[in-house]
């Protein structure tokens, strides 16, 4: 853990971009020899203290529409700038006439590779209505098929959330169980609810028509309607203008808070009877579909989040993931593997369509699932990821994992997640660079161009992506390909390559912004430069993301073998060794941690999926794909800090040997934070020494990991699960599962230290893994 990179406080810098290779191999062949793909991890709207906000529209290149940036060559006398991507010469417009070497606009400052434009009227590529400064919409979708206690938790969380919303935020509410209930908040006479049947798929048009939101005069009719030909003017519909009706359902928080609160007070658990031995009839699919339709009536381009609180699996209507019969268990990985999950494909298809619908509307789906059983995140994942939605998986709506996470999304100020809407990412890159695609929370906009690679990874076939929802920690992995052939002369027109990321989005306060980040890297030939530019953290994360992606996409993909093979190839290529002499093997420090990352990745929940439910796996992967590199690294290889008397808290080896009776360990595996008390510490604590004045030091020792864990928890979203346990306690497994099993029952004798522990596993230890790796790496291929 003590790698120099980690010590670096801000590896992303103002750019928010990290690449697997700092320097790029010049040719496709070389690139492929690098084993680790050329990829950039970008955080499109990462905040930075030095970030300049420019209150004007950017200048764009006439041909490639790249934005003026510090890497442009500028002729101050001719008032001309040359685009680094297409080399087009562009004239500065009149209002730039006063620029000079000493009077540069901010976007030309070399130390500002990222700048942000504040645009009142930005036309984004999808031609969304420009006049959008409307306030964001929060549409809550609440499952009511739960026990009363859970529902109470969910309700109180909702109430708190509503209280936290900005006054101008538009709020809507949909509850569902066996049927979907859309609450008309703007109806003053009494509580009014539109009820949709849970078993029937319903299109957006139908939703709008049935809610009375259809555009006037347009096809009002379903199949049976033609008959009414001679009826009294069928045209005379309701409402004045198109979509004004939406105000019946979506109201400013300040206006509907009281209504919503009383509505929630009266809301009871779903009353439809549940046959004995059956699951509750829960129509999550239709509920989301209806909510989507409802949002579809809002003004196009308005940012909207659909926040679903789900308490169990969908069993009714489209999007069902399991039968109603309780004797059929919810699908497991094994079922998926054996194709024995009859609902899976249909449900995935349904949610995929739902996702597309949401993307076309520019709206986000967030899912907060709290249940002991699975709720179908695996199926919904596609819709959540495509819209850039948030997902939190917890065991109960009363659990802090849910409660605190849920609260976080409504917080403002420093704790704010910086949730933004309607993001669009465009990539411009130098000639010879192709974009294969993106893994992360976005959707391809299918914008074709010369920079589109033929092979696709993730969301590809495009140089533009839609991110309906994004936040300051959102992270995307862009995969590049180098297309130049060996021939293109190495000197080239330029030794530098340029990539420009253009992210337009609607910030949480409703402003339209455009973040322009332009990066430059160097073309290199020969492995030496490559080695020096290797970012092993990024590489580990990219490999993890890619492996996960392949596991999902490729039938029968064996992730362990794939990782092993790549690792061996990497070591063969970049290690220094004598052939067939494992002992001679050494790795450059730039690679030193990578094998260990791979070792932990192989043992992680991302690869060893069978230890988890498909929902959990989907959840982990969603987060792996959207979190920052440093967080993702923690997911792959948790950090361990040891607290002991007479020493400062220090990182400890992620090894069973770090366990000691007189230590406290703090494990951060991202999804959970474990405070582990050594046996002796636990005994002392149980005897209450910490309460005695003379043992103040002990009290402080106990306190320290608690405080540190709170630091971690406070900054993290979703809030991790905090586990406080003692050595040999049942909860200790949360720690043991993550440790390198250097001491197992097989070598317990020899490894016996005082106070340490053993792990009962057949897994190989890191040492054994490395030994094998060295042996294989040095073998002639």
């Amino acid at each position: 853990m003590a790698a120099p990179e980690l010590a670096q406080t801000d590896p992303e810098g103002i750019e928010g971009v990290r690449m697997t290779w700092l320097n790029w191999p010049r040719s496709k062949v070389e690139a492929s020899k690098c084993v680790i793909p050329i990829a950039a991890s970008i955080q499109p709207i990462r905040p930075h203290v030095d970030l300049q906000i420019l209150p004007y529209t950017p200048l764009r290149c006439k041909t490639c529409s790249a934005v003026l940036n510090p890497f442009c060559r500028v002729d101050f006398t001719a008032l001309i700038w040359i685009c680094p991507f297409c080399f087009q010469r562009n004239h500065f417009p009149h209002h730039y006439s006063s620029i000079s070497q000493t009077n540069l606009p901010a976007e030309l400052y070399p130390n500002f590779p990222s700048v942000e434009y504040l645009i009142p009227n930005y036309q984004n590529p999808q031609n969304f209505n420009p006049a959008v400064t409307s306030s964001p919409i929060y549409l809550f979708v609440l499952d009511t098929c739960m026990i009363e206690e859970e529902l109470e938790f969910a309700k109180s969380a909702l109430k708190r959330a509503i209280g936290m919303l900005p006054e101008n935020a538009m709020v809507g509410f949909v509850s569902y169980g066996t049927q979907v209930q859309v609450h008309e908040l703007g109806f003053s006479e009494m509580s009014k609810v539109y009820v949709f049947r849970g078993s029937k798929d319903i299109s957006k048009d139908q939703v709008l028509e049935q809610l009375g939101l259809a555009v006037q005069g347009s096809r009002r009719a379903g199949p049976g309607m033609q008959k009414s030909g001679g009826g009294p003017s069928p045209v005379a519909g309701a409402g004045a203008g198109p979509n004004t009706g939406i105000n019946r359902f979506l109201l400013p928080a300040s206006e509907c808070e009281y209504t919503l609160n009383s509505l929630l007070d009266e809301l009871v658990t779903d009353q439809w009877p549940i046959a004995p031995g059956n699951r509750a009839l829960r129509c999550t699919g239709v509920a989301l579909s209806v909510a989507t339709g409802l949002l579809g009536a809002s003004t196009a381009g308005t940012g909207a989040r659909m926040i679903a609180l789900v308490g169990g699996p969908c069993t009714e209507g489209p999007g069902s993931i399991v039968s109603k019969d309780l004797s059929d268990p919810v699908r497991s990985h094994k079922d998926l593997d054996k194709d024995a999950a009859p609902f899976f494909k249909k449900a995935v298809h349904f949610y995929d369509e739902l996702g597309k619908q949401l993307v076309s509307q520019g709206h986000v789906l967030d899912v907060f699932a709290s249940a002991l059983d699975q709720v179908g995140i695996a199926e919904m994942k596609v819709a959540i990821e495509k819209t850039g939605g948030l997902v939190v998986l917890a065991e109960s709506f009363g659990h802090s994992v849910f409660k605190d996470s849920f609260k976080r999304i409504f917080e403002v100020g420093e704790q704010s997640l910086g949730l933004a809407f309607n993001g669009t990412l465009e990539v411009n890159c130098s000639k010879d660079i192709k974009v294969q695609g993106i893994i992360g929370p976005c959707t391809s906009l299918e914008k074709k161009g010369p920079a589109v690679a033929s092979t696709v990874i993730g969301q590809g076939n495009t140089t533009a992506w839609k991110m309906c929802g994004l936040d300051k920690s959102s992270c995307l992995t862009v995969f590049f390909d180098v297309s130049s052939s060996e021939k293109s002369d190495p000197a080239g027109p330029s030794p530098q390559l340029y990539i420009q990321f253009l992210t337009s989005y609607q910030s949480s306060d409703g402003q339209m912004r455009l973040r322009v980040t332009t990066v430059t890297r160097r073309w290199v030939v020969g492995s030496e430069d490559l080695v020096q530019g290797f970012d092993q953290e990024v590489a580990a994360v990219v490999m993890a993301r890619l492996a996960s992606y392949k596991m999902e996409m490729e039938e029968g993909f064996d992730a362990t073998r794939w990782l092993d093979r790549n690792l061996i190839r990497l070591c063969s290529k970049f290690g220094e060794y004598r052939k067939d002499d494992p002992a001679s093997f050494t790795l450059n420090s730039c690679f030193s941690l990578f094998p260990q990352f791979m070792f932990n990745l192989r043992r992680s929940q991302f690869v060893q999926v069978f230890n988890n439910s498909p929902d959990e796996t989907a959840y982990f992967r969603i987060l792996l794909n959207r979190e920052t590199i440093s967080n993702a690294v923690v997911m792959i290889q948790p950090s361990l800090i040891s607290y002991a008397f007479n020493s400062l808290p220090a990182p400890a080896l992620l090894d069973v040997q770090s366990i000691a009776a007189d230590r406290i360990l703090l494990l951060d595996s991202y999804f959970s934070v474990v405070i582990f008390h050594g046996m002796t510490i636990a005994q002392w604590r149980n005897m209450g020494y910490q309460n005695q004045p003379e043992h103040q030091g002990f009290a402080m020792l106990l306190q320290a990991p608690q405080e540190d864990s709170q630091l971690i928890i406070r900054d993290r979203f979703p809030v991790p699960r905090l586990v406080v346990c003692d050595q040999h306690g049942s909860q200790a497994r949360f720690l043991l599962a993550k440790l390198n099993p250097s001491a197992t029952y097989s070598n317990a004798q020899e490894m016996m230290h005082t106070g340490s522990d053993v792990i009962f596993t057949d897994d190989v230890s890191l040492q054994v893994f490395i030994d094998h790796l060295q042996r294989l790496a040095v073998q002639a291929s």
Binding site: F187, Y194, E209, L211, A236, G237, A238, G239, E266, Q271
Partner: protein, 1072 residues
């Protein structure tokens, strides 16, 4: 009317013997001449004394003749009751018989006059009254006088007179005094008409020739006339203010009318004028028809026969009313008594056969063979009204509980035990009177036989001595626990409904009816509103206001909640009231013009599917969206004349099967739909009505709806709808004796299997017509039984089986058949058949068919039964003498007129379908009375004044007239009504101030109070809060009123006289 005669038959009883019939018949044939004589005699029965056969009609004679008859009649009647109970039905029969038609009048007086009886009579006719009478000689006489003939001539007269004479005298000595007194005078004339009719009727009585004439006469319709007339006449009534039961009954005989009218009008005039209607008479003369002639022919008629000379309006039978109460015993001497006219007020004593209210047959004797039936051209059918309202004085239906084992039934045909089951083998076994199978008597039900061949416990067991009993259903009759009483209200809130005030009216009506819903935890209610979507309301909420749940998908509906949409009334009363108050306001600005009736009904159905129940829908416009939506076919038809004209009757058919399918599903889950249509436009009732029709509900139609004037009717209709006696989840089956079987049921119900009728709900106003057919010959001396069993759940959640059994004698004689014909029932069948055919056949065809039925029947009679047919005279069986009039009225009714709005016609067809027999005749031949001169009339015993024939001749410009047909009530205000009268009645000074939306109020003056009292009485009789409309001469409302003058010539049909002439012509053509 004919019915009364029936009784006569009863009168036969004295004769008991089936022979009597035969005998009579034979006699008839044989002695036609004699008969005639006798008839004549009989007719003039009374007359005999006076000998004035001719009189019949002539006033003078009457007086004399009548005077006599009356007494006899009276006596007999009186005595009869007493007798009735046990043995000789005869008397009783007689009694009732007389009362029936005109008699009522007469009778009442008698009672009244006689101090003792009056009180008694009302309460327990038979019992209390009986004693005194019984004491009277009559019985003995009667019983003793088996020989009809004698009786006829003297018997009645003799018997009666002696005993009564004194009394009569005392009371008012009708006979003599009448003449003297002015009132009597009036009577006189009346009588004369009656005489005519009576003669006819009496003849029918033929029963006992003997009786026939005298007693029979009196009893028989025709005769009743005389007796009544005598009594009724001024003196009687005035004197007998006691008359307990308000004379509500209408007596058909035209004579009566005459009588009735006569009173009000100046007797003198009448007297001279003549027979029939006092008023009429004068005019009649004008017509020039010799009053004299007709009578003669009549007289000649052996059987009750009415002879008409075509052109003589005076003698054309006319509908009239009498206000007397008839006491009717269903059987006497183990023979069925023909029931009184449906429109009369009668009190039934059930002693074996069920009350005619529950079931009556078109023929009171069953033809033994198909041939006989087809020769007669009449039809054999039952009109069943299983939950009909009894008269308050009638004995309540006995409820019998057989415990776990359930009622005793035939093991083969599953018929229920009834008084006609024959126990044999010391009671160990019994023979089913329906299928003839011999069953073991269940051990616990065994009982020894008495010497009379009856079980000794027969009189203690209602099921063995009553025609109608109710069994408590045992578990095997329940597929589930009896359903709760569920009322679901569905209210249209589309823009038109809101603007027209229909929504507010519906809500207010519902809100008023809530307190009237049955108390207790079994009563559940629900409410929903709809426009282009459906709005349910969750009323079961602890908090604040109700929750509105909208079902927007009107193509494929569902219920928004599994529970809580239909809630116990006790739990939601408050919410419901708030909600009802709130709805009109809430939708005040609703701009949705569409209405999803079908979808809303379906959704409501789904909400109540678990229990079933009543779904009350308030609909204001043509359903234009959602499943089962309709189009304005009527308009389309108009714009596309060629299509429209080709088959306009198609517009009377439902447009497609959607609603029918839906309705069948409703019925399956015991959901009954009642439809309240409050509209101002075309709503395609033809299509909509399928739902109520199939589910045992009904359509209420308010067109053009006016929130102002229709509110009261709406509330009252709704109240009656939910409070009237009714049952849920019912199944009905009619079983017949071997040889007859049910051919078809028709009415408002759902039929899934051919033998049963499924009724999600049934109430006291629903009648089902059961067409019968022969599948074998019947034995002449046997009786044919009909049993209607209705399994239902009461409002209070008890499962019961109501079993009504009717056993009628079989006959091989065509003449008997005509005598035993029940005009009201026959005509109901004709009307209902016509209504059934309307949607599927061109109008002209239906009209022709109805006319032909009339012609064929009369033709058959003329050909085979009439004693003598002189050309120029139309022979009619007494029982059916009004057939031409009613047929004509039918042709001019809303349904069979070609000029009516489609919706009006559809509604009419629909209204007619379950219409109880007593309401059928008023529907086509409305009752008209004058109300401007109420003050002048002293009608203490009858609230409703005399009926005026439906012709403009009787309408004066100074008058105000009220006309009602059970649905609408038109008040016609002449152009030159005295301002004083206007002010008193309407509180206005000139006719111009009356608008369509005018509301009748009660003012503090006699006239106004009387008018309101009359209205209320009519409403009570009709079980309907009539729709009041004001008509002024000269505008469309006046035209509408005049279109009810069915005796006049109008586009939809000829004048009465012309029509009779036409019929006559047709018959003559056929004869030759």
């Amino acid at each position: 009317m004919s019915t009364p005669r029936g009784p006569r038959p009863g009168a036969f009883p004295p004769n008991y013997n089936p022979d009597t019939l035969a005998g009579n018949l034979q006699n008839l044939r044989i002695n036609q001449s004699n008969w005639q004589q006798s008839n004549n005699a009989g007719v003039s029965g009374a007359p005999r004394t006076s000998n004035a056969l001719p009189f019949g009609q002539q006033p003078p004679p009457f007086a004399a003749g009548q005077s006599r008859p009356p007494p006899p009649g009276v006596f007999q009647r009186v005595p009869a009751p007493p007798v009735a109970p046990g043995q000789s039905t005869l008397r009783p029969d007689v009694m009732p018989a007389r009362p029936t038609g005109p008699t009522p009048v007469s009778q009442p007086p008698p009672f009244a006059s006689r101090p003792p009886p009056p009180g008694v009579l009302p309460s327990s006719i038979g019992g209390s009254a009986a004693p005194p009478y019984s004491a009277i000689a009559p019985r003995p006489g009667l019983s003793g006088s088996p020989t009809p003939p004698q009786m006829s001539s003297n018997g009645p007269a003799g018997i009666g007179p002696p005993a009564f004479a004194p009394r009569m005298m005392q009371s008012g000595s009708r006979p003599p005094p009448p003449m003297g007194n002015a009132p009597r005078l009036s009577v006189g004339p009346v009588q004369s008409p009656t005489m005519l009719s009576s003669q006819a009727s009496s003849q029918p009585l033929q029963t006992r020739p003997g009786f026939g004439s005298p007693p029979a006469v009196s009893s028989s319709v025709g005769q009743p006339g005389p007796p009544f007339s005598t009594f009724p006449q001024g003196p009687m009534f005035s004197g007998s203010s006691n008359m307990p039961p308000p004379p509500g009954s209408l007596s058909f005989p035209p004579a009566h009318q005459g009588t009735v009218q006569s009173w009000p009008q100046q007797p003198p005039q009448v007297g001279p004028s003549h027979p029939t209607p006092g008023a009429m008479q004068q005019q009649q003369r004008i017509f020039g028809m010799p009053p004299g002639p007709p009578p003669f022919p009549n007289q000649s008629m052996a059987l009750g026969q009415t002879v008409l000379s075509q052109a003589d309006p005076n003698h054309i039978p006319r509908y009239s009313s009498s206000s007397a109460v008839i006491l009717y015993e269903t059987r006497t001497d183990n023979r069925a008594n023909p029931p009184p006219p449906t429109t009369s007020t009668y009190i039934v004593k059930d002693n074996g056969n069920c009350s005619p209210r529950y079931m009556r047959c078109t023929l009171n004797q069953v033809p033994c063979t198909v041939d006989l039936l087809s020769t007669s051209a009449m039809q054999l059918a039952l009109l069943v009204q299983p939950l009909a309202l009894p008269h308050p004085s009638e004995e309540p239906i006995h409820v019998v509980d057989f415990g776990e084992s359930g009622p005793v039934r035939c093991s083969r045909c599953k018929g229920y035990i009834n008084p006609f089951v024959k126990f044999i083998d010391q009671g160990r076994r019994f023979i089913c009177n329906l299928c003839g199978f011999t069953d073991e008597t269940p051990r616990e039900y065994h009982c020894n036989m008495g010497s009379d061949g009856r079980r000794t416990d027969a009189d203690e067991r209602p099921e063995l001595c009553r025609g109608t009993v109710e069994f408590i259903a045992s578990k095997e009759y329940m597929l589930r626990d009896p359903m709760p009483a569920v009322f679901f209200f569905l209210v249209d809130v589309s823009m038109h409904a809101i603007h027209s005030g229909a929504t507010a009216a519906a809500c207010s009506a519902i809100s008023q009816v809530i307190p009237d819903l049955p108390e207790g935890p079994r009563t559940m209610v629900g409410i929903a509103t709809f426009d282009s979507s459906i709005h349910f309301y969750n009323l079961k909420r602890a908090m604040q206001q109700p929750l509105m749940l909208i079902v927007p998908d009107v193509q494929d509906v569902y219920t928004p909640l599994e529970s809580d949409v239909v809630v116990q009334l006790s739990e939601c009363r408050q919410h419901l009231e708030i909600l009802l108050d709130c709805i009109p306001r809430m939708f005040e600005n609703n701009r949705t013009t569409d209405s999803a009736f079908g979808a809303a009904a379906k959704a409501a159905f789904l909400a109540m599917k678990n229990t079933g129940g009543k779904l009350l829908v308030f609909q204001s416009i043509l359903p234009s969206t959602g499943m089962g939506s309709l189009s304005a076919r009527e308009a389309e038809g108009r714009s596309n004349m060629s299509d429209g004209e080709k088959e306009p009757h198609k517009l009377l058919q439902p447009v497609d099967k959607t609603l029918k399918t839906m309705a069948i599903e409703f019925a399956e889950y015991q959901v009954c739909v009642d439809l309240f249509i409050t509209t101002q436009t075309y709503v395609d009732i033809a299509s909509l009505s399928v739902v109520p029709r199939t589910t045992g509900g009904q359509v209420y139609y308010y067109y053009p709806f006016s929130a102002l004037s229709d509110l009261a009717k709406l509330s009252n209709d709704l109240r009656w709808n939910v409070t009237r006696p009714q049952g849920f989840e019912a199944v009905m089956r009619v079983r017949c004796s071997q040889g007859i079987q049910v051919q078809e049921y028709s009415g408002n119900f759902c039929k899934r299997i051919p033998t049963d009728v499924d009724l999600p709900a049934i109430d006291c106003d629903k009648t089902i017509m059961v067409s019968l057919k022969h599948d074998d010959k019947l034995q002449e001396e046997s009786e044919c039984a009909f049993q209607c069993a209705l399994l239902y759940t009461t409002v209070y959640g008890q499962r019961r089986i109501r079993v009504s059994t009717l056993s009628l004698p079989c006959t091989n004689m065509l003449t008997s058949l005509f005598i035993a014909a029940d005009l009201d029932t026959q005509f109901s069948c004709i009307l209902k058949h016509a209504a059934d055919e309307m949607p599927s056949a061109p109008l002209a065809q239906v009209r022709d068919k109805a006319t032909n039925v009339c012609i064929n029947i009369l033709h058959s009679y003329s050909k085979f039964c009439a004693t003598r047919s002189s050309s120029g005279l139309l022979m009619m069986p007494e029982a059916l003498k009004f057939l031409p009039l009613y047929t004509l009225a039918l042709l001019k009714s809303n349904g069979l007129r070609s000029d009516g709005r489609i919706d009006d016609r559809s509604f009419w067809l629909n209204y007619v379908s379950p219409l109880p027999t007593p309401f059928v005749i008023p529907l086509v031949y409305p009752r008209m009375i004058a109300i401007h001169d109420l003050e002048a009339k002293e009608l203490e015993d009858s609230i409703i004044p005399a009926i005026i024939p439906l012709s403009v001749k009787y309408i004066s410009d100074e008058g105000i007239y009220l006309l009602e047909n059970g649905v609408d009530c038109l008040i016609y205000i002449g152009t030159s009504v005295e301002q004083n009268v206007l002010t008193q009645i309407f509180g206005i000074s000139s006719v111009e101030e009356i608008s369509n939306q005018f509301i009748l109020e009660q003012y503090d003056n006699q006239l106004s109070k009387k008018l309101n009292a009359i209205l209320n009485e009519i409403r009570r009789e009709r079980c309907s809060y009539l729709r009041l409309k004001f008509c002024k001469n000269g505008d469309s409302s006046g035209t509408m009123f005049l279109s009810n003058m069915v005796e006049d010539h109008m586009p939809s049909g000829a004048a009465y006289t012309d029509f009779v002439a036409y019929i006559h012509n047709q018959i003559q053509k056929k004869m030759t």
